[in-house]
Amino acid sequence: MKTLAVARAVAWRTIHNVLTTPSLLIPSLVFPLFFFTAFAGGLSRVRHAPGFNYAPGYTAFQFVFVVLQSAVFGGVFTGFGIARDFEGGFARRLLLAAPHRSGIVLGYAASALARWLLTVTVLTAVAFAVGMKVGGSGVDLFGLYGLALIMNVAALLWASGVAMRLRTMQAGPVMQMPVFLVLFFAPVYVPLTLLSGWIHAVAVLNPVTRVLQAGRGFLAASPTEVGAAFAAAVALALGFSLWALRGLRKAEAAG
């Protein structure tokens, strides 16, 4: 119960900060919309490339990527907040006050999730407003959201592990850059079969590829690699939860 009380307090504070600070709220809403516009609007001709077969169309194809990207970066941006809390001294006071410190990580994770839910609601509304087509009954869309949700948690745990180890805002690029690379070394613009050379080899090994392909399968109402995608996402979340908890121990040890 004490863990949950700590988590609730940390989550409430973080959500309140995000909702009342335009410089934190607006970029997290605008950037996914911007990428959606730039990719789905600017590159839609790519669907005419020989071998590109995705029934719902290029807007839906890019929507899946942008949903995952918003989930992952929602987690990373919350990591920035953790680093800011350490830099400002708040996190140290929190470590002193919290009886069950794992609740701190749990609270940040809950706030990252709430933040992403707001973003994905806006993103989905815009996508349907511009005529995105979804295959089947649309129920499969929630499969995509489920995958994105796990990725959001995984990214938050990664970022919080870094933030708790380095405890400075200068850790931002360390949190962001690997995530950016892993996301973009997946089949972002075209299906995996149309990639060739080194990027294909990297994309095949990249766990995000499984998640992306399953998400696109959900939207086309022809689920593919669902088991592998959920397994990859859960494995990332579990791996990074150990990383985050060890980070918490290091922060405690640093005093």
Partner: protein, 257 residues
């Protein structure tokens, strides 16, 4: 060396040394554009199979983007450094000396231009290493560097103007997303005539960054294209002149003695 020349040299040297001493300011303009080039040239290679695509090498097509992206970083670096000079009082102390304001601007921009030449050399070397051969030949490479210098001058002056107007590094940094939007809503990833969505094509047509990219791109994949070069150099020169006038005007207010 004349007194004015010496002032410009000393300030340009300070600008370069200060940039070099901050690894993030050197690495980011070199690394980020190259990462974006790697990601896009790998992921969008299939685009070269579209009818009407101007080249069979997407790396050659995309190599123009780092030159413009690097200039965006020049805006940030020039602006942030100048804003720091204002915030720390360096500019106020400088205004007590007989130094001319224009020397400060020229020195600051001299540093930015030097960095742009280094960046351009790195981008071009990477392109050559992966097999890109500029269609305009050796003279084209010289034109490419001339253009990179002009663009860096224009964007650097824009950053200096923002710094002089606001006096805040954070305000200058907040320009970056705006410039990033200009980059992504241009023809950076696909030729304008192949953009399918009408409103996006209209934005790309109206976006000056499209013409800056296409100027570099023409030298790499087409050869000597008078229209692309005229538009690119014309727009870059206009940006540079307007930004320099605005920056000089703002500097006069900042250095009021």
């Amino acid at each position: 060396m004349s007194v004015f020349g010496d002032q410009v040299f000393q300030l340009a040297r300070r600008s370069v040394v200060r940039t070099v001493r901050q690894p993030a300011n050197v690495i980011a303009p070199l690394l980020f554009p190259m990462l974006l080039l790697a990601v896009n040239s790998g992921g969008l290679k299939a685009e070269t199979r579209l009818p009407g695509f101007p080249t069979s090498s997407f790396v050659a097509f995309a190599l123009a983007v780092p030159f413009i992206q690097g200039a965006l970083f020049a805006t940030m670096n020039a602006g942030t450094d100048l804003a720091r000079d204002i915030q720390t009082g360096f500019l106020s102390r400088l205004s007590l000396t007989p130094m001319r304001g224009v020397a400060l601007l020229a020195g600051q921009l001299g540093g930015v231009v030097t960095m742009s030449v280094v960046q351009g050399a790195v981008y071009l070397s990477v392109g050559l290493a992966v097999g890109v051969r500029p269609a305009s030949g050796g003279l084209g490479v010289l034109a490419l560097f001339g253009f990179a210098i002009l663009v860096a001058l224009g964007f650097g002056a824009l950053g200096a103007f923002a710094a002089l107007r606001t006096g805040s590094g954070e305000a200058v940094q907040s320009l970056f997303p705006v410039l990033f939007v200009f980059l992504f809503l241009s023809s950076m990833n696909i030729p304008r005539n192949l953009i399918e969505v009408t409103w996006f094509r209209d934005i790309a047509n109206a976006n000056p960054v499209s013409y800056l990219i296409e100027c570099v791109r023409s030298l790499i994949i087409t050869g000597w294209n008078g229209q692309a070069l005229g538009l690119g150099f014309g727009i870059a020169a206009t940006i540079a002149i307007v930004a320099l006038v605005l920056a000089s005007w703002s500097l006069r207010g900042r250095m009021a003695r």
